[in-house]
Structures are given as structure tokens and as C-alpha cells.
């Protein structure tokens, strides 16, 4: 019955790598945030798959916590995006080099 649970972990790794590529390669701040969401989502998939492996719902509880953290992170991130765009008129990540001390 069903697929082997390893398939879910491989899929999770693939999604994580795609998200990591987006964070590294893209310069649009909003797309970088979306790629971060992809990485968080792949971690959630791993959490739920492990919860199925061990037949223990703790993994699902952690996934709910992770969603909460993701929501808070997106809210703060998008507020920063709005602030950066209001001040600089662009969303290029590279202009944030001015934050360097």
C-alpha cells in the first residue's frame, strides 16, 4: 500500500533546494520572501512525513507552530518591504548593502 515514505523526504529536499536557489539568485525582495516560504513549506512536509513515520502527532503540532512563525515572519518581512520601497523606490536586494556597518 502507498508510496514509501522516503519519497516525501526526497520531495522535501527538492523543494528546499529550489527555495534556496530562489533566495540566493533572485534580487526582488518579494520573491526572496516567497522562496523563504518554499523552504519553510518543505520543512513542514518533512515534519508531517516524520510524524507519519513514527505515528506520533508531535510532528503535526510542530508544523502548526511553524506555520505561525511563517505568518509572523511574512508580516514583518512585508512591512520591511513596504518601508524599503517607500524609502528607496526599488526592491533590489543589493541596495540593502547600505545597511552594512
Amino acid at each position: 500500500m502507498g508510496v514509501s515514505l522516503e519519497h516525501y523526504f526526497v520531495l522535501s529536499a527538492v523543494l528546499f533546494v529550489i527555495g534556496a536557489y530562489g533566495v540566493i539568485a533572485r534580487r526582488n525582495l518579494i520573491v526572496v520572501l516567497m522562496s523563504l516560504e518554499l523552504m519553510l513549506n518543505s520543512a513542514n512536509l518533512a515534519f508531517v512525513a516524520f510524524s507519519r513515520v513514527h505515528n506520533d502527532m508531535t510532528g503535526q503540532v510542530f508544523m502548526i507552530m511553524s506555520i505561525t512563525v511563517a505568518a509572523a515572519e511574512v508580516a514583518v518581512g512585508l512591512a520591511l518591504v513596504v518601508a524599503v520601497y517607500a524609502h528607496r523606490g526599488t526592491l533590489d536586494v543589493d541596495i540593502l548593502k547600505i545597511l552594512k556597518g
Binding site: M1, G2, V3, S4, L5, E6, H7, Y8, V10, L11, A13, V14, L15, F16, V17, I18, Y21, I24, A25, R26, N28, I30, V31, M34, S35, E37, L38, N41, N44, L45, V48, A49, F50, S51, R52, V53, N55, M57, T58, Q60, V61, M63, I64, M65, I67, V69, A70, A71, A72, V74, A75, V76, L78, A79, V81, V82, Y85, T90, L91, D92
Partner: protein
């Protein structure tokens, strides 16, 4: 049957993820992200995590994506602010990451006989993944972390208001 559903929605999830990082327009990226999140929700159902699948659609594909779309449309970006230019370094760094991550995955558990996921999933106990089951764990063993999450959300709300508020100068 379950295998077919898995492969269809796994392919959709990967396709959505690829579209997220290749689209030039953030609105298209956001809609592709919805595809990925929805496909992941279907996979959660296959993993018998029904409550979490519902949460995924309501909170992630619903609330968070609306927030993204709202911001993109609120900013009303210039077309020249949207050009897609991947960094030269990015591809090399990503290939390195892929090799590293997959080596770790397969060395750590893929070929490890002690890893319980190597076989087909075992039958799950009664009430696994339902609202009652997850709620019972959430409100007994993890009550304190659950309450602390509300502090996190409060901090996020205050932070967002402080950051995004217009300053009168």
C-alpha cells in the same frame, strides 16, 4: 492509486516551486506558490494529517498568500523594478547546496536500514491526524509553547505597526 496521486501532486509542487523562482512578475510567482502549497496540502492528506492539511489551505494558501498579493498590488511596482537577473555565483552555490543536501539525506537516512520510513507506512492508531487527536497533543503536552506563540504574534503585530507607520517629520 495512492502512488499515482503522490506522483501527480509531487510533480505539481515541484513545477509550482520552479515557476515561483523563474517568473518575472511577483503576482505570477505568488499564484505559483499557491499551486505548490495546495499540492503540499494534498500530500498531507496522503500522510493522514487531515487537520494540518486544512490548516495549510486556510492559513498558508489563504491568509499568507493574500498578504503577499496585497503587498505586491499595494506597491504598484514599476516594470523596470521587476527584471529577472540571476547572479553569476548563484548557480554554482546552488549546485553545491544540492550535492551537499542530497548526500546528507541519503547518507543519513535513505540507505540506513534502521530508518523506519524505508518500508511502506505502518497502520496508524485511531484518531491520527484528526482535530481531536492533534488538539489533544497541542493542549496537553505543548500547552506552554502554544501560549507562547501568541506572544510571538503580538510581537509581530507591534513590530509591523512600528515599521510600516508613516513618520511625521
Amino acid at each position: 492509486m495512492e502512488t499515482v496521486v503522490f506522483y501527480i501532486f509531487a510533480a505539481l509542487a515541484v513545477a509550482g516551486a520552479l515557476l515561483v523562482i523563474t517568473h518575472q512578475n511577483p503576482v505570477s510567482s505568488a499564484l505559483s506558490l499557491v499551486l505548490t502549497l495546495f499540492s503540499t496540502a494534498v500530500l498531507f492528506v496522503l500522510l493522514l494529517a487531515h487537520f494540518v492539511a486544512a490548516i495549510q489551505i486556510l492559513v498558508y494558501a489563504g491568509a499568507i498568500m493574500i498578504l503577499f498579493l496585497f503587498t505586491v498590488m499595494f506597491l504598484n511596482l514599476h516594470p523596470e523594478a521587476l527584471r529577472f537577473d540571476a547572479r553569476n555565483m548563484a548557480f554554482k552555490v546552488s549546485v553545491f547546496l544540492v550535492v551537499l543536501l542530497f548526500t546528507g539525506y541519503f547518507a543519513g537516512m535513505g540507505f540506513n536500514k534502521a530508518f523506519p520510513g524505508g518500508s511502506a507506512p505502518s497502520p496508524s492508531p485511531e484518531g491520527f491526524g484528526t482535530v481531536e487527536g492533534v488538539g489533544r497533543v497541542l493542549f496537553t503536552d505543548y500547552l506552554l509553547p502554544f501560549e507562547l506563540t501568541s506572544v510571538l504574534i503580538l510581537a509581530a503585530i507591534i513590530g509591523v505597526v512600528a515599521i510600516a507607520k508613516r513618520r511625521e517629520s
